[in-house]
């Protein structure tokens, strides 16, 4: 029977004591299925990276359990061979080693060696267009190339679970596309992937499920589409032909709105509110170019985060 590869049950983590106490993760629970990409979104300091480090055992939670392949990770460290991690803020590679040496080193400290491993390293280097630079010290490579090397170092031992913290940050569009393709390929191969990113386009392209967190708690969880729809149901955007500042006086006091140039965004509005407002705009001879309920995922998440602040 297939088990759920990653289960996070009620994890909490507090750093510091007294006035300096920071609740980084607060009773967080979620799971990642086989062949599923779950994306954790949230503002800086929302507890994303702490959550990721708890999932791979680099930070010990105050409470809660992380189960990898149905086993408690804290009691079974050999499970780490099933986890591949890319951490944000550094490339996790030795600058004085070449890409090939780095990959071989990480394979070996996970117990893999031999001709098969070396062949696989060559294939990985080739798939990331690194073959030409495979013997150059990593310190001489661009940041994008170093990020690709870090990915190769993780993929070489074929982990079942991938935890990726900002794998596309600082990359050019082509490299970013390669990384996105790699994530999609890993997903197709049945790997369970936890992705942290600030880049909504990346989340939109690869995520099966999105979890928005703030102050260590889940604000909303769902597919990219369902999250957008949830927000869309209460936010309308009206575009006028002229500057929209004249519309300010037409708004009912109970309606929260933002006016920027010729765009009016109405929050928590009902269909009736909108109809009434449009009637007033027309009566005031203001030309309406469009009324839309469609927000991008990025706009939706921004609104969620703002609402949670």
């Amino acid at each position: 029977m297939d088990c759920i590869p990653v289960k996070i049950e009620n994890i909490s983590k507090v750093f510091g004591k007294g006035e300096k106490e920071i609740r980084a993760v607060d009773d967080l629970s979620f799971h990642i299925g086989k062949g599923e990409v779950v994306c954790l979104l949230g503002p800086n300091g929302s507890g994303k990276t702490t959550s990721l480090k708890i999932v791979c055992g680099l930070i010990e939670p105050d409470s809660g359990v992380v189960k990898i392949l149905d086993q408690d990770l804290s009691k079974n460290t050999p499970l780490l061979k099933h986890i591949g991690v890319i951490l944000e803020g550094s490339r996790n590679i030795y600058p004085y080693l070449s890409p090939l040496e780095n990959i071989k080193y990480y394979a070996r400290i996970h117990g893999f060696d031999g001709d098969e491993m070396i062949s696989k390293a060559e294939v990985l280097l080739d798939s990331f267009s690194l073959t030409e630079r495979k013997t150059s010290p990593c310190s001489t490579l661009s940041l994008g190339m170093q990020q690709k090397v870090a990915l190769c170092c993780t993929l070489i031992y074929d982990p079942q679970v991938l935890l990726l913290d900002e794998p596309t940050s600082g990359l050019d569009v082509l490299t970013k596309r390669d990384v996105i393709k790699t994530i999609q390929r890993m997903k197709d191969e049945g790997k369970s992937i936890l992705l942290m990113t600030h880049q909504m386009d990346v989340a939109e392209k690869v995520a099966d499920r999105i979890i928005v967190i703030n102050k260590g708690r889940i604000i909303i969880e769902g597919t990219p589409k369902s999250i957008s729809q949830y927000i869309e149901s209460s936010i309308y955007s009206i575009t006028l032909q002229e500057n929209a500042s004249a519309a300010q006086s037409l708004l009912e006091p109970n309606i929260k709105a933002e006016i920027t140039d010729n765009v009016i965004i109405l929050h928590n509005s009902t269909q009736e509110d909108i109809s009434e407002f449009i009637r007033k705009l027309t009566a005031a001879n203001l030309s309406i170019l469009s009324v839309t309920k469609n927000l991008s995922l990025e706009e939706s998440v921004i609104r969620l985060m703002e609402g949670a602040q």
Partner: protein, 260 residues
């Protein structure tokens, strides 16, 4: 067999690292040579009869410099590179990976020390073959103790990067109070007691006894101090592992694995 892969990985990495830090290695070698020649001919002319003892104990100190400094240095460097967390993600655990790293470092240092031994023995006119088996054995026992001591300092570096600087000072303190230059009984009792806490001290003292009394293998086996040295090293290794594991746990609770 999978552990062999880890050892291989560490040996290859250590060799590549040594190529990268060749200047530092040369500096350490030159420092040791200068200290040895200085102590041998200028500061302690009376020890001329114990040249072999001084040479072997200086080389043992060079080993301690490499092991103790390197263990802390590894942790500090890994924190800077952001690779420390990847070491902790090895299914074999950080103690195993770092132990193999220390082993690789000792292998490399053994090569360097052998060349230094040959060169210096020729300079001071000692036969390279005058080193005895008991001297080699007590050096190995001392190295094991130094590994435990290094692991302790590496654990403390994990919690506070400043410990790395302290480890450098400790190696130089060991040079002067290990009994290599002045016999331990000529120190103030308090300093002598402190000196005995360092793993190098007992090894050096035993080396002095072996050199001055021309102790053979049987005498070495029957000497109570041999067993004292072995017990000390075992205690140092166990203490090192315990301190390191405690530091790992604290670092995971405090979330400071990568803090520099």
């Amino acid at each position: 067999m999978k552990q062999v892969a880890v050892v291989k990985g560490e040996v290859r990495r250590t060799v590549e690292e040594a190529k990268n830090y060749w200047l530092q290695t040369i500096t350490n070698i030159i420092s040791t040579i200068i200290f040895f020649l200085g102590f041998s001919f200028v500061i302690s002319p009376d020890l001329r009869g114990s040249d072999l003892f001084l040479l072997v104990s200086m080389l043992l100190w060079y080993f301690s410099l490499e092991i103790i400094n390197q263990m802390s240095h590894y942790i500090l460097e890994e924190k800077y590179f952001g690779t420390i967390e990847k070491i902790f993600l090895s299914p074999y655990g950080p103690v195993t990976v770092l132990s193999y790293r220390a082993f690789s470092s000792i292998l490399l240092s053994t090569g360097i020390v052998s060349v230094m031994y040959l060169g210096l023995s020729l300079i001071v006119g000692i036969s390279p073959f005058s080193i005895t088996l008991p001297m080699i054995l007590i050096s190995i026992v001392t190295l094991a103790g130094l590994y435990g001591f290094g692991l302790m300092l590496a654990g403390l570096t994990l919690l506070s990067s400043r410990t790395s600087s302290v480890s450098s000072i400790i190696t130089y303190v060991m040079l002067f109070i290990s009994g290599m230059l002045v016999p331990l009984d000529q120190f103030h009792p308090v300093i002598a007691a402190i000196a005995r806490l360092f793993p190098l001290t007992n090894g050096v003292e035993m080396l002095r006894v072996i050199a001055t009394s021309n102790m053979d293998l049987l005498g070495f086996i029957l000497n109570i101090n041999t067993y004292f040295g072995i017990v000390y090293s075992i205690v140092a290794i166990i203490a090192g592992i315990l301190v390191f594991k405690y530091a790992v746990r604290r670092a995971k609770i405090k979330g400071v694995l990568r803090s520099v």
